[in-house]
């Protein structure tokens, strides 16, 4: 006796269609794109669109609430003739280079110190993150009070040490104002370096240190020939991030000095904001913001190539 189940014709078709759809979805070329679609759409909407719109704006004379007219590279030419633009360029480079170096060296020191064993290690590590966790605007307001000659703890200390009253004008003197924003940025960014490098340090296998110790290597040699080479990729990545954030820094300067005194602390981001939002010149503002692009792009490309080669 043979038992054969009779298949329903409709079902067969449906199953076949479903399997073919499943098979199609199963194809790697399709599936990978499908998985990528959402992040890509996300990137296109939130990064791609503003970026290309920014480029479009920079090529226009576009007063706020008016239609734009295409002017080619005129905005960029205007910037080249603007003395403040050059001041801003120098400021931004000085600010970024000095803070990055300070944060790199300081952060490495911090990570090495945190990598030792001591009591309440975890608590100290957590506390170290505080400057990074507090919203920048809040911590900057605190600094604003600390740097006010009348209320400053810094000045009170200096005066008690014999400095003539009321002590230095941190935000009124152009050089000291630059020093102030560099110090505050370093204070804020150090934990980021410290914690990231600490994570890197902990991945270094201890056997390497043991082997080096057996070979008679001292502390400096262990650092120079084991720690530093193994940490280099992480240092590079942290630096990359830090440079991007510092180069485009806005909040700190906007709250502390608003670019003053006499544009001594004016950076690309704050200047672009003043032109675009204050003066209502969206095109010119966009062209100032875009002036950051070549330097950052060059840096990113150089670092990426270097990392690939590693």
């Amino acid at each position: 006796m043979t038992i054969a189940s009779e298949r329903l014709p409709g079902l067969v078709q449906a199953t076949r269609r479903r399997t073919s759809l499943a098979a199609w979805l199963d194809r790697e070329s399709v599936f990978s794109w499908l998985m990528m679609a959402l992040p890509l759409a996300f990137l296109a909407a939130l990064v791609g669109y503003p970026f290309f719109y920014g480029i479009l704006l920079s090529l226009q004379d576009r007063p706020v609430a008016h239609a734009g007219t295409f002017v080619g590279l005129k905005n960029f030419v205007t910037n080249l003739h603007d003395p403040i633009f050059w001041r801003v360029t120098i400021n931004t480079f000085v600010y970024t280079i000095v803070t990055t170096l300070l944060k790199m060296v300081g952060g490495l020191g911090l990570a090495l110190a945190m990598n030792q064993n001591f009591r309440m290690k975890n608590l100290v590590r957590a506390l170290l993150l505080l400057p990074f966790i507090i919203p920048t605007v809040l911590s900057t307001v605190a600094w604003l009070w600390m740097l006010d000659p009348a209320f400053s703890v810094v000045n009170r200390l200096l005066v008690s040490l014999g400095w003539p009253r009321p002590g230095p004008s941190w935000l009124g003197n152009p050089t000291l104002a630059m020093v102030s924003i560099i110090v505050i940025n370093t204070w804020r960014g150090l934990p980021f370096y410290g914690i990231t490098l600490l994570a890197g340090l902990q991945t270094v296998p201890s056997e390497l240190y043991d082997a080096a110790a057996i070979d008679g290597a001292g502390g400096w040699h262990r650092f120079r020939f084991i720690t530093l080479p193994l940490l280099r990729p992480i240092i590079l990545i942290v630096t990359l991030f830090s440079v991007i954030f510092t180069f485009a820094d806005f909040q700190l300067v906007y709250v502390l000095t608003h670019g003053g005194p006499q544009n001594a602390t004016q950076l690309f981001a704050t200047y672009a904001f003043d032109i675009a939002m204050g003066a209502g010149q969206l095109g010119l503002g966009a062209s100032i913001a875009l002036a950051m692009l070549p330097a950052l792009a060059l840096l990113i490309v150089a670092l990426t190539i270097y990392l690939r080669r590693e």
């Binding site: 009124g172 003053g260 003066a279």
Partner: protein
């Protein structure tokens, strides 16, 4: 932002549905025209004087609804965010129907505002006529793009007790006299403090008037010819440098708008330039300081006495679905009964730009505020004698004139700071 009262206690579910419908409404945009219940939304910056905002929400708005059946929604935005909010509304063509303007918005958004010249003419006729400053603040290409509401003047604030210590009972009439007093006061450890940094108002508030009172200006009346490089400007710069060096605290160069208030309340300075808020705040929080705080018009220079116009005004968006209703509402709002009440609630923090209020009782509430009224006749926009323009807004945003003075105070030569300012101004006004 105002939250509508629901009239019943809020449950969690109720709150969620309210929040959902609120965000849905925000997505959909303004109510379509012709809906049964009409609403006019006014956008306003949060006032330093709280009863001022409350007066609209609790008195004016219900009164108008009772009279006409049209709801008035008073939307308050935080201080400093008004330009961004107006930008958003003007760019997207939806949001509020009427908006408050600060100094620069009338020029920047004039294209999106209704011409309200007819309403302005009627108001002027009925209430003593407009101050010239009112006209200067809202005329764009000869059209009234807003109804002037008031000035929030910047004047001299001085410590009567410390001035008396050096024998001065009345505020000095000229900049040179003020300088002499300041020298004496600094020697007694009571320096002056005038903002020379990158704030929004307290710097421009005295530096443009100083420039004008020596006969200088950034641009000629044609709005195109840069005239900053003059002997008059040089004299103003030289004066500013010595005023800074011999009377002020060094820190002024880095000040923003909060700094002089902070220095005043902590008794660090004996004279500054600020809005009425210093006296208000001192009276409320530091009564002892409030008692010895007085106010005066800016001192005169060789070419006269000047003040900065820091006006606010109201405009109707041309794309508003209820623009005709908004016009009627503005007529009602600017009528003596409503307008007078609204001014009075804030004493004289908002100085009317209509001559009809020159002798209003509000000026007697705090006689120390009367100089703010007397200053209206000599108040101008930063680009004066040129009419308001985009270029003027750019020059203000770039702090050209402020930094010219500040750099001189920092030690740069007069010739150099004027050259720098001229280069910048020529770049800005080239497009005029």
């Amino acid at each position: 932002m105002s939250v509508p009262a629901t009239g019943h206690s809020t449950t969690r579910r109720g709150f969620l549905s309210l929040a959902a419908s609120g965000s849905a409404a925000a997505l959909i945009g303004p109510r379509p025209a012709g809906a049964a219940e009409k609403t006019i939304t006014i956008l306003h910056e949060s006032s330093f004087i709280k009863p001022f905002d409350d007066y609209v929400m609790n008195t004016l708005s219900p009164a108008y609804e009772k009279e006409t059946g049209i709801k008035v929604n008073y939307e308050v935005t935080s201080v400093g965010s008004l330009p961004t909010r107006i930008s958003t509304i003007a760019e997207t063509g939806s949001g509020a129907d009427v908006t408050m303007n600060g100094l620069l918005q009338v020029i920047q958004f004039g294209d999106k505002y209704l011409d309200v010249g007819d309403i302005a003419a009627d108001i002027g006729k009925a209430q003593g006529g407009w101050y010239d400053a009112g006209r200067e603040a809202v005329l764009v290409d000869g059209k009234w793009k807003a109804l002037p509401f008031s000035n929030i003047g910047q004047l001299m604030n001085w410590r009567t007790d410390w001035f008396a210590e050096v024998g001065v009972k009345k505020f000095p009439e000229t900049w040179e006299e003020l300088y002499e007093v300041g020298k004496k006061l600094k020697a007694k450890d009571h320096p002056f403090g005038f903002e020379l940094g990158h704030g929004f108002g307290d710097n421009h508030g005295w530096l443009y008037p100083l420039l004008w009172s020596y006969g200088g200006a950034e641009v000629a009346a044609d709005g195109k010819t840069v005239v900053i490089d003059s002997d008059e400007t040089a004299r103003a710069v030289d004066f500013c440098r010595k005023l800074f060096k011999d009377t002020m605290v060094d820190d002024c160069l880095g000040w923003t708008d909060v700094s002089n208030n902070k220095a005043w309340m902590s008794e660090q300075i004996s004279c500054t330039n600020n809005a009425e808020s210093i006296l208000w705040f001192a009276k409320r929080e530091f009564p002892d300081i409030g008692k010895v705080t007085d106010q005066a018009m800016n001192p005169a220079g060789p070419k006269g006495r000047f003040h900065l116009l820091n006006s606010i005004s109201h405009s109707i968006f041309s794309f508003s679905p209820v623009k005709d209703e908004a016009r009627e509402f503005m007529k009602w709002l600017m009528a003596p009964k409503q307008l007078g009440g609204w001014y009075a609630i804030a004493d004289s923090y908002y100085q009317p730009l209509l001559h009809g209020y020159d002798n209003a009782p509000m000026w007697n509430v705090e006689p120390r505020n009367q100089p703010f009224r007397d200053a209206l006749g000599s108040a101008h926009l930063p680009g004066w004698p040129a009419a308001a323009s985009r270029q003027m807004a750019e020059s203000v945003a770039k702090y050209v004139v402020v930094d010219m003075f500040a750099k001189a105070c920092g030690g740069t030569s007069t010739k150099e700071v004027i050259k720098d300012a001229e280069t910048q101004l020529k770049g800005i006004y080239r497009s005029a």
